[in-house]
Subunit: 742 residues, 2 copies
């Protein structure tokens, strides 16, 4: 354990604490600037006015610190949550306006909290692995402290010493102890819950000058977690295998990959970023010599960049793993994060366009800095780039591959499982056309904080549907989810990156393998985004190969968004609907129609919002196409009635080859369809084996293209020769893509 060696460091820096508040997030100097600059940076002024109206309204309504009772969504939960947001904002307003009504509001509320705190036991709701006091889980109690410590810092010097003493002793120290040493199963994990806990305890420690709390926050507790708590409510492990450290530095060491990817995915990263960054900002102000923002090559700023890159063009995060769709760069956490990344990360003018879209800035140095730069016209459009973001603390445990080309965003996932919030979606992918989902990830089955829906927590359909493999755009074998749906097994391994090349913007490729999801079966998916001269938009090639025993039952689902226009196959629709199975997510699918595939290829066109989309696939004899609808076995109407397409095959070693096209447009006010039909006239597999895949496709205009890929040799200089019928094909490098003679 590292505790012994780091104690001395702690002692050294703690002694330099200046008892001169505010100095946590706001600083005396920063506050001077904010006062001086009011009226000069519109975005800052607008945020200031908005916040002032909100807080004045709260003050008008009066203080309410109710006895805790409700789950998320219920009154007491939402009231305490509103209280900490209001206090944090009131603190800032007090510093900027010097109007004591804001300080009094915070003081009075804190005293009400100090009054009630010693009387409270655990929150009456018993379902959490770490029950809080004001909230049903310690996590929310930590949220409260992260925000409230900022408010406290703002009025610390204004309060009389007696009140400070009372608050420190009756409220804040015991509060910090409760969420740390009294709940080590919450505080000592490598997990976003603990990040909040660490930041909360560390920040109040910094404000109070309490060295012990800051030490706990940075380096964790040297205590054992009660033996009977091994998993949290989401099934995540309390202690990771091999975990030998805890605390904020441990989170930084483990939570992010060197590329700034967070293993739980962007939805949770967004949530976790706030405590990471706000505590880091406090440490930057109070302990600059720690150089926390430079730790691990500037990891925290990189993480913001990684987060921005995991969005569609509307700034909405890829909804991988447990994620509520629609969460975006507009969230309060990102409002803080992006301005910080701008201010501390080298003033990238592209970030300013994101901040402009956010429409508000944090009321602190970085927010003012960003708002001033925007007022000076420095903003530049944000340019998404293709990138592979590695997963794992050392960057060697899988990755996600993101390919951008024009309006197209393709994301393929071959990362770690993501612990308790992970989905069984190895080699799954998402496809966007600008902000529109073309092929969707379902996201989580949850209405976050909405009390109607089981208190706003995860719904049981999150496990029975949203996490299962069949809910994702990836291969399901023998109707069972990856790793048989076992999180512990899934956490042990990751996908295997094979090839990522986005250097040539006209031929961008991501390819990865999955060797562990099913015993004795290896899978590899290769996706390419190709510029084709004759097509209006990039074409996506999808080559999913599997090496498996004869008789394997494959289901390859694709959750297209929109209304089915037509298919070249004759689907039989069903006059009665039944669930497609009993488990692994199939119990939630209705089978609306099916077709025995016939002819040269399978083709289906759908329409969504303004554009047409076509999938073209090869098939083998006996393959079926199934049209599905989510919603069976859903007694509380928790699932969206979204459509899906499954290609079903029984066989051994095999290849699923498809093309996805974005084409044409149609507007309901013009009613003139443009290019509503596919441009693909043919698609065939020329070769498939465990070493190579080669496909050929033709356009209606007569051109033919050929794409060849080596599944086993990623050298850019290796030579390959493959026999096809009576001729042989030769190329150098991992892939070969070319137009061939008509």
């Amino acid at each position: 354990m590292r505790f012994i060696t780091t104690i001395s460091l702690v002692v050294v820096f703690m002694s330099s604490y200046a008892q001169n508040h505010p100095n946590l997030i706001l600083t005396k100097k920063g506050v001077q600037s904010m006062r001086a600059e009011l009226g000069r940076a519109p975005l800052f002024d607008e945020t200031f006015q908005t916040v002032k109206v909100q807080v004045d309204d709260e003050i008008e309504q009066g203080i309410d610190v109710p006895v805790p009772k409700d789950m998320a969504g219920g009154y007491t939960h939402e009231r305490h949550k509103a209280n900490f947001f209001a206090m944090q904002k009131a603190g800032v307003l007090f510093q900027i306006t010097q109007d004591v009504k804001y300080a009094e509001y915070i003081r009075d509320m804190l005293l009400a909290y100090a009054e009630i705190y010693p009387t409270l036991g655990k929150h009456p709701e018993e379902r959490s692995y770490a029950r809080g006091k004001f909230f049903w889980q310690c996590l929310n109690d930590a949220n409260w402290l992260v925000y409230t410590s900022q408010a406290y810092d703002c009025i610390y010097d204004w309060l009389d010493k007696k009140t400070v003493k009372r608050l420190n002793e009756d409220l804040f120290r015991p509060y910090a102890e409760y969420i740390s040493i009294e709940n080590p199963q919450f505080f000592n994990r490598i997990h976003n819950h603990s990040t909040w806990g660490n930041a909360a305890v560390g920040m109040i420690g910094l404000v109070m000058g309490d060295e012990e709390l800051v030490k706990w926050a940075l380096y964790g507790l040297d205590v054992k977690v009660p033996g009977d708590i091994v998993r949290d409510n989401d099934g995540g492990a309390i202690r990771l295998e091999g975990q030998d450290e805890a605390g904020f530095f441990a989170q930084l060491n483990h939570a992010f990959s060197p590329d700034g990817y967070y293993t739980e995915g962007p939805y949770y990263q967004r949530y976790a970023m706030y405590p990471f960054l706000i505590f880091a900002q406090g440490l930057t102000n109070m302990e600059p010599e720690l150089e926390i923002l430079k730790y691990r090559n500037g990891l925290l700023i990189k993480a913001v960049d990684a987060l921005i890159n995991q969005t569609n063009t509307a700034g909405e995060f890829f909804p991988i793993n447990d994620a509520q769709k629609g969460m975006s760069l507009s969230s309060r956490e990102l409002v803080n994060a992006v301005s910080m990344a701008y201010f501390y990360g080298g003033n990238d003018p592209q970030l300013l366009s994101i901040i402009k879209n956010q429409g508000r800035v944090p009321l602190n140095d970085s927010g003012l800095g960003a708002a001033k730069a925007i007022a000076e016209g420095k903003a530049k459009p944000y340019q998404y780039k293709s990138m592979e973001l590695t997963d794992g603390a050392n960057g060697d445990e899988g990755a996600i591959g993101i390919i951008r080309n024009g309006d197209i965003t393709l994301m393929m996932k071959y990362a770690k499982h993501g612990m308790g919030h992970g989905h069984f979606d190895r080699l799954g992918f998402l496809l966007y056309n600008g902000a529109d989902e073309v092929i969707q990830d379902y996201g989580s089955a949850r209405w976050v904080n909405i009390d109607h829906k089981d208190g706003g927590g995860y719904l049981k359909e999150n496990s029975s549907w949203a996490k299962e493999t069949i809910a994702h755009n990836t291969l399901v074998i023998d109707k069972d989810s990856h790793f048989d749906g076992n999180v512990k097994d899934a956490d042990k391994t990751s996908g295997t990156p094979y090839y990522f090349n986005a250097e040539n913007s006209q031929v961008q490729i991501v390819s990865a393998k999955e060797l562990n999801a099913y015993p004795d079966i290896s899978m590899q998916r290769t996706m390419a985004v190709l510029d084709i001269d004759e097509l209006e938009n990039p074409l996506i090639v999808d080559l999913f190969s599997a090496q498996a025993p004869t008789g394997t039952r494959y289901d390859l689902p694709m959750y297209y968004m929109g209304e089915l226009m037509s298919s070249n196959q004759k689907f039989q629709t069903n006059n009665e609907l039944a669930p497609m199975g009993k488990e692994s997510g199939y119990q939630h699918l209705w089978l609306e129609g099916q077709a025995d595939l016939n002819g040269e290829m399978f083709s289906m066109t759908w329409f969504n919002k303004k554009n047409f989309y076509t999938v073209t696939s090869t098939f083998q004899e006996g393959d079926k196409a199934l049209l599905t609808r989510i919603g069976a076995n859903d007694p509380n109407f928790n699932l969206r009635r979204d459509p899906g397409l499954i290609q079903r095959r029984t066989g051994g070693n095999t290849l699923f080859a498809s093309l996805y096209e974005t084409h044409g447009m149609y507007s309901y006010s013009d009613e003139i369809p443009i290019n509503s039909f596919t441009s693909i006239s043919g698609l065939k597999v020329l070769h498939q084996s465990d070493k190579y895949v080669i496909i050929q496709f033709g356009l209606k205009t007569g051109e033919k293209y050929q794409f060849a890929f080596s599944l086993v040799n990623d050298s850019e200089v290796a030579k390959h020769t493959v026999q096809i019928d009576n001729s042989s094909m030769t190329w150098t490098g991992v892939y070969d893509f070319k137009k061939i003679d008509k």
Copy 2:
């Protein structure tokens, strides 16, 4: 018939034609202004630039006048359509820029049309009751001529006389004859098809100085329609009962009510407005003494106003009758209409804000006028008002009632059937929250012009689902549609307006009766939009009473938009789905779940986009609530999988009483639900009879309200007394709404 008496008038005004082009839509004077003002009115300049790019692009591509072959959506159809749009625009560009390349483009294309026209028989597609030549129906041929005559006018004086003679004799005169005297079943109707036909023939007549064509256009043909054609493809009658006139004046006399309501509904009104207005503009320029825009108290301008008022706040038309959703004030027809209404209808500055949103203007006098006014900052926000729009040529055949209050728009329909495009939806309603549908009308089952979907025409599900009563938010009796689904019977009568009062913005009421939809059954629906001090949004009261024999089976559907949050009832969901019936639209509904209603009332909350909505209903013993999903018996996936709620009851005289609330909000990036639960604590019927309905509802904050309504006496001074239990309630006027003691 009027033909004899009007011939003399025609002769008089035809002699005054000035052969001095352009003088149809553009005028020599107007063109001077446009040239002079270029660069001064940004919206005009932007449109000009956009149009120039489009036409230059078309010229670049070269002229193609293919032999007709395809249906809508197919190449030849879309090419000929693109041609007439391009020629019309090129004509304007020629006049503004004086660049002869535009004139040459039109001339060459017209000569190509003149070359091919004499060789053509009827279009090969045989399905229309009036087949065209370039298109599958005369309607589209008329579209072509309406646009092309404008182009021809723009180059008329520039062309050499020989070319003019050739075009007049080989192309335009025979073209005009084909869509008039050779197809009287198309030309001589009271119908939007004929409006296009009349305008087309009249406009080319004005351009060529062909008095006979103009006479036909204005006053119709004195010919008999071939006896075997009595209905069009949509089932609409070729000759209305009692019809004694035809032509443009007859359209004006019959198509609109005195309020400017068009019996087919706003979707078709939008389509019809273009020929009405563009021909009227031509007549205004060439025959100002006709004062066509003042005809019937300025009916055409009133019609534009009526159309604007039949939209949600995004400018999307109420999708009543056959209507594709999303058609809006942004359509090209309305771009022309709204600028004309501004220019010729008194320069209402509120119209300018609509024109601003349209983002383009017609390139003519009215477009320039509007663009200049916008550049001068004259635009004012458009204020929707509550209004009742009567139906029927004399305004005495039913109506629609539109109530606006804040973001709430309620529309109830008790108009005429709307002929071939009508739906069986008497007493149906729609509810919007701003631009969001709260309770939707399905619209038509059609993908207009999209070839994938049966050539872009009406799908068979339009009749089997979209027109049926069960597809609407109104009462279905004994599982059969109104008028047993018979258009002819439905066309004979209309709903009966009973009471419309929007004078007091806090209590707005619409009430109407339907006495013909079902034999021996009278129905009356009364809806009120009420301001309630304690509620954040207006509350909608819905009182649907029916006088019917004992044992009548009632189904009252409601097509809510969004995701079901919760209900106070225990719904049983079905593990297998079956269609709910065999006909009348029931065959397209899956029954997802059902509840036997229990307790004090029925309550269900749903969420859509950003807001929560709750319906609260009373019920009687034995009532059931059914949760439905559209999509059964839909072999081509032509129907949207939208949810519905049906309240089912068996009984005699009865009352369905409901409240609709819009409440709270939730954003996916904030995740903080506000006011997500209903505020209603109770709802009960205090009295129901064929004379009165009285309901009482309570709020969770303790207040109680009472609403009483007289179903038979609409006098504002009549006194009413109703015995309730042991006390009596007395009021004056049609209704009484008040807060009662807690």
